[in-house]
């Protein structure tokens, strides 16, 4: 791989990170959405500690999943409209690497805040310390997978009316394994069992997603621009 790819990819990340700092409202929307959705459950279900502890892992994970889905709308749509996506395709570097750089920046702006917030929200459900730690780890490993899978859906719906709802329909089924093993890891830890197996599987999903998703995203972007 030539040095040009790294330069171009780091420029893509730099630009998107700079944009994220300029448009803080976008980042905050995702974070607040996550916090509010998670906080609604104790209010709705009632303050029974045993119930909260058992639903906690699932609730935090479903909310993280929906929050990352919410953020997908901004991944390619803006670039598609203002023509920067065309320039990305025409940079002459590997488009897969450039979209990977884009997804990485997107994850730092929208996924990382979820990781940092999740132990705090887990506390609301009375999760024990070990489970909070596993929750943070599982969200940290799982949300990049969500971003990568979601990016495929976002790229496939480029320029389509009602792209948000369509993206949700496309990617939510793909999110299911991440949800099962993510929430499963936390539940296991909360019940005093080993969460290592679940986390390893999540890690395997992350490796597979990093290796394969960029090519699918790049192909989808090219089709979207035709």
């Amino acid at each position: 791989m030539s040095g040009g790819v790294w330069q171009a990819a780091s420029a893509v990340t730099a630009r998107d990170m700079l944009l994220a700092t300029r448009r803080r409202a976008d980042v905050l929307t995702t974070v607040f959405f996550f916090a509010i959705v998670v906080s609604l459950f104790p209010l709705g279900v009632g303050a029974e500690p045993a119930i909260l502890r058992s639903i906690g892992p699932g609730v935090v994970w479903v909310a993280a999943l929906l929050a990352s889905l919410l953020a997908l709308g901004r991944l390619f749509a803006g670039d598609f409209e203002d023509g920067t996506l065309e320039q990305l395709v025409l940079s002459g570097e590997s488009l897969a690497m450039l979209v990977l750089a884009k997804v990485a920046a997107h994850w730092v702006a929208t996924g990382l805040p979820l990781v940092l917030l999740s132990p705090l929200l887990g506390l609301q459900f009375g999760l024990p310390g070990e489970a909070l730690w596993v929750l943070t780890c599982s969200v940290a490993i799982g949300t990049p997978v969500l971003s990568l899978l979601g990016a495929i859906g976002a790229a496939l719906t480029l320029g389509v009316r009602g792209a948000g709802a369509l993206t949700a329909l496309l990617v939510l089924p793909l999110y299911v394994p991440v949800l099962i093993f993510g929430a499963g890891a936390v539940s296991a830890a909360a019940e005093g069992m080993q969460a290592g197996g679940h986390l390893s599987l999540l890690g395997a999903m992350l490796f597979a997603a990093v290796a394969l998703a960029p090519w699918a995203i790049a192909a989808a972007v090219r089709i979207g621009l035709e």
């Binding site: 893509v12 203002d82 025409l90 590997s94 621009l225």
Partner: protein, 204 residues
């Protein structure tokens, strides 16, 4: 040298153009004319490799585009209808990062100097979204100054929204590029003098 042999573009059930052939030799330009919706932008997107070819073939320096692959993009500069600018970034940031993504490293000083020659020095640091349409177009076209290494320029309505002075500078830049062995393909509705070999292609 850019050549097209019997190319066609079909949108739905409608033929935008069919059996279109032309050759643009090194150092000359091709101006594409036609009414709105005649397929000018579609043709440019095909020539840039963004859209696939429905029929025929396009070759650059004797090699067809599909054989070139990603390297073809390294040969060309495409300025599309949209300016490829981020509204929340300044002209300077847009220019520098946009070029870096294209693999062209530019220092802040170089970028600032280039913007100054375009008369944009006073507005180089404010978010591009606050600029007028003509100023945005000029920011987008400042890229041309750093893209002399890319022999083929494909410009979609480059003169739109520009004032007289900017039009003069841009046509001068096109001539300069042609004289140094480049090829330029552009569309425009305005009759602008380009002091070089320009052939016109009329799309029906």
């Amino acid at each position: 040298m850019l050549e097209a042999f019997d190319i066609a573009c079909v949108r739905g059930s409608r033929d935008l153009f069919r059996q279109l052939s032309f050759r643009v030799v090194t150092g000359s330009a091709l101006r594409i004319r036609g009414s709105n919706g005649a397929g000018k932008t579609s043709l440019l997107r095909i020539l840039s490799g963004l859209s696939p070819l429905d029929e025929g073939r396009v070759s650059w320096n004797g090699q067809t585009l599909d054989k070139f692959g990603d390297d073809y993009a390294k040969q060309l500069l495409y300025v599309g209808h949209s300016n490829a600018l981020k509204g929340h970034l300044s002209a300077l940031e847009n220019l520098r990062l946009g070029l870096a993504i294209q693999g062209i490293e530019v220092s802040d000083i170089q970028a600032a100097t280039a913007l100054a020659t375009e008369g944009l020095d006073a507005t180089a640091d404010i978010p591009v979204q606050w600029l007028s349409a003509g100023q945005k177009r000029r920011v987008a076209l400042t890229r041309l100054m750093f893209c002399r290494v890319r022999p083929l320029w494909i410009l979609d309505e480059p003169f739109s929204a520009l004032d007289e002075e900017a039009i003069y500078r841009l046509s001068g830049r096109i001539v300069q590029h042609l004289n140094s062995g480049g090829v330029v393909v552009y569309t425009t509705h305005q009759d602008i003098e380009i002091d070089a070999a320009v052939q016109t292609l009329e799309l029906q």
